[in-house]
């Protein structure tokens, strides 16, 4: 109980914000990742190679570098940030919406790659079979490709969610450290450590560890109960 009491309301806010950010980011990533992964899995050519390299960039780029470019890009004088300012009256940097955009870009490969692998494994054969059985391409996607790619979707969701939850450098660059607005849990932990508040850092870290572990257990259990193809 002592440990829970040690968590301040600011910490709760950071945790909530982290979870919200991870949920929103993962949802957006699954939506845009699906057509992107589908296209990568079913096309050939130079454009595909370039697109794959761009999508994989966040894997190799230092988060601070990515964060720096995103800060420029999303800031009031940036290409997207500037447009955003003229439409909404405020910039994207140092705001939650900016964090979402940054996280989507940062976690993109973690969602696109498992989906692409899944679609590549399925190949065109089951889709052709579905077409000969009267299914439109959309019908074939929903009722054949999607269920067959379920493993890929589960992996993509966990990786996307966990990666967004643990993100630090990019968030710090783009969002800063505004409690309630842009301060996520990893930054809160960093703050506590900086101020030598080890009890709170311990608690938050343990909480994050438990959360990650529990979600993996949940997904694995769910996955084992209804594995594809076995009654």
């Amino acid at each position: 109980m002592m440990a829970i009491e040690a968590i301040t309301s600011m910490d709760w806010q950071a945790l909530q914000l982290s979870l919200l950010l991870a949920f929103v980011t993962t949802a957006i990533l699954l939506l845009i990742g699906t057509p992107l992964a589908w296209w990568l899995a079913h096309s050939k050519g130079r454009l595909k190679t370039t697109a794959e390299a761009v999508i994989s960039l966040p894997l190799v780029l230092p988060p601070t570098v990515l964060g720096f470019y995103l800060l420029i890009f999303l800031g009031p004088y940036g290409w997207l940030g500037g447009t955003w300012v003229t439409i909404t009256g405020h910039a994207l940097s140092f705001r939650f919406s900016g964090l979402v955009i940054a996280s989507v870009i940062y976690s993109l490969p973690f969602v696109v790659q498992p989906l692409q692998r899944a679609f590549e494994t399925i190949g065109t054969k089951p889709l052709e079979a579905a077409a000969t059985l009267g299914a439109t391409p959309w019908d074939a996607f929903i009722n054949v490709a999607f269920p067959l790619a379920r493993g890929g979707y589960i992996t993509a969701t966990i990786l996307g969610f966990a990666h967004t939850l643990g993100e630090f450098g990019v968030v710090l660059m783009v969002g800063g450290n505004i409690p309630g607005q842009t301060q996520v849990i990893s930054i809160a932990i960093y703050d506590h450590v900086e101020s030598l508040e080890y009890t709170q850092a311990h608690t938050l870290s343990a909480l994050l560890l438990l959360l990650s572990f529990a979600s993996l257990i949940f997904v694995n259990t769910f996955n084992r109960r209804t594995p594809i193809g076995i009654p």
């Binding site: 054969k125 089951p126 052709e128 079979a129 579905a130 077409a131 000969t132 059985l133 009267g134 299914a135 439109t136 391409p137 019908d139 009722n143 054949v144 269920p147 067959l148 379920r150 594809i228 193809g229 076995i230 009654p231």
Partner: protein, 359 residues
């Protein structure tokens, strides 16, 4: 119903320039060596591949006419397809696989009965199982059933027995035969296996290097000396014969065929009097005699007339004979041909050493 299909397609260094115009009924075999473009032709017919210049008309419906920009997508074409690999959906059980196409059928009323197909293909014990748990033969039966249950106008089968052992494929062939007999569903059956084609097909299209070089009734196609089929090692003819009696002493069946009718003998205990069966006679099993031999162990002797002779190699000739209205091939040596002075128009006796029962 009549099917008219023409395709022009280039893939790498392969060119398909095929044309098929045929009445669709019974089983049409599409035969050719591997790489001759059979599968590509079928894929174009099903709309899975789009030829740069294509035209498909079935009955009164135009499925594709690239000169007018008409192209019906696969899901809009009322054909059933059985692929080489069964392509069953792993995430669905057998019953759900069978229902997948049926639920999406283009016909308002089911023309093909669920119970009938399940019974013929013996699918009821499999309905709740998943494809991975089935044997190769069982999977292919489900795939055939799934395609048929969409109530298609005709069924396309692309070497459905390719991945099966001999016993398995014999069994599936039997299933396909009985399906065809009972449902009257036209089938286009692709194979590079002559035995398979001879068992099933009534009509044959021969494909070579991306072109359909000849089409016609199967018996005519395999005995035409200007086509490669009559010069294969297993060159043969097929006859349809009716079982008329059974001799229990010698375990021999007598069957009648042709016009004027001839009698042939087969040793087989599974034949039922009144059945119509298809028999195959290999060219290598036929020898020729100028007179009716009096002392011979060969039972099947038919009066025949030589209609065509073609040299196959320096030592060998293929002789085409007519027994009534049925063509028969005989492969003989040059020496025999010259010794007996076999010529076109000569009447002689064809001695058939063995006759294989096809179905």
């Amino acid at each position: 119903m009549k099917l008219d299909a023409r395709f022009n397609l280039t893939k790498g260094d392969f060119t398909l320039t095929s044309q098929l115009s045929t009445a669709i009924s019974g089983v049409t075999g599409l035969f050719g060596p591997s790489g001759s473009g059979k599968t590509t032709f079928l894929r174009c017919l099903a709309g899975l591949e789009r030829a740069s210049k294509g035209y498909v008309r079935f009955g009164d419906d135009i499925w594709q006419d690239d000169s007018k920009g008409i192209f019906l997508a696969t899901h809009q074409r009322p054909v059933g397809v059985v692929f080489q690999e069964n392509r069953l959906f792993k995430h669905l059980n057998v019953e759900e696989n069978l229902l997948f196409g049926r639920k999406r059928s283009k016909q308002k009323k089911d023309s093909i009965s669920w119970d009938g197909v399940v019974q013929i293909l013996e699918l009821s014990p499999l309905l709740n199982r998943y494809p991975q748990g089935l044997s190769g033969g069982e999977q292919q039966r489900v795939a055939i059933g799934r395609a048929i249950l969409t109530n298609p106008e005709f069924l396309i089968m692309d070497e459905p027995l390719a991945s099966m052992d001999q016993t398995g494929s014999k069994r599936i062939l039997g299933f396909i035969s009985s399906l065809q007999n009972q449902l009257q569903l036209p089938i286009i059956h692709v194979s590079h296996d002559m035995g398979e084609i001879l068992q099933l097909a009534d009509y044959l299209a021969v494909m070579e290097k991306g072109e359909i070089i000849a089409t016609g009734p199967i018996r005519d196609m395999i005995t035409r000396l200007d086509l490669p089929l009559a010069h294969r090692g297993d060159a043969s003819t097929v006859l349809t014969a009716k079982v008329v009696s059974h001799d229990p002493t010698y375990h021999l069946n007598s069957l009648q065929f042709g016009d004027p009718s001839q009698t042939l003998f087969i040793a087989n205990n599974n034949l039922i009097i009144g059945d119509k069966v298809r028999v195959r006679i290999f060219a290598r099993d036929v020898s020729l005699a100028l007179d009716h031999p009096s002392n011979t162990s060969i039972l099947n002797l038919f009066p025949a007339e030589v209609t065509e002779i073609s040299q196959e190699n320096p030592a060998q000739y293929m002789v085409k004979l007519m027994v009534g209205n049925n063509p028969i091939l005989a492969r003989i040596t040059k020496k025999s041909l010259e010794t007996l002075s076999i010529k076109k128009g000569l009447s002689l006796i064809a001695q058939v050493k063995s006759i294989a029962l096809e179905r």
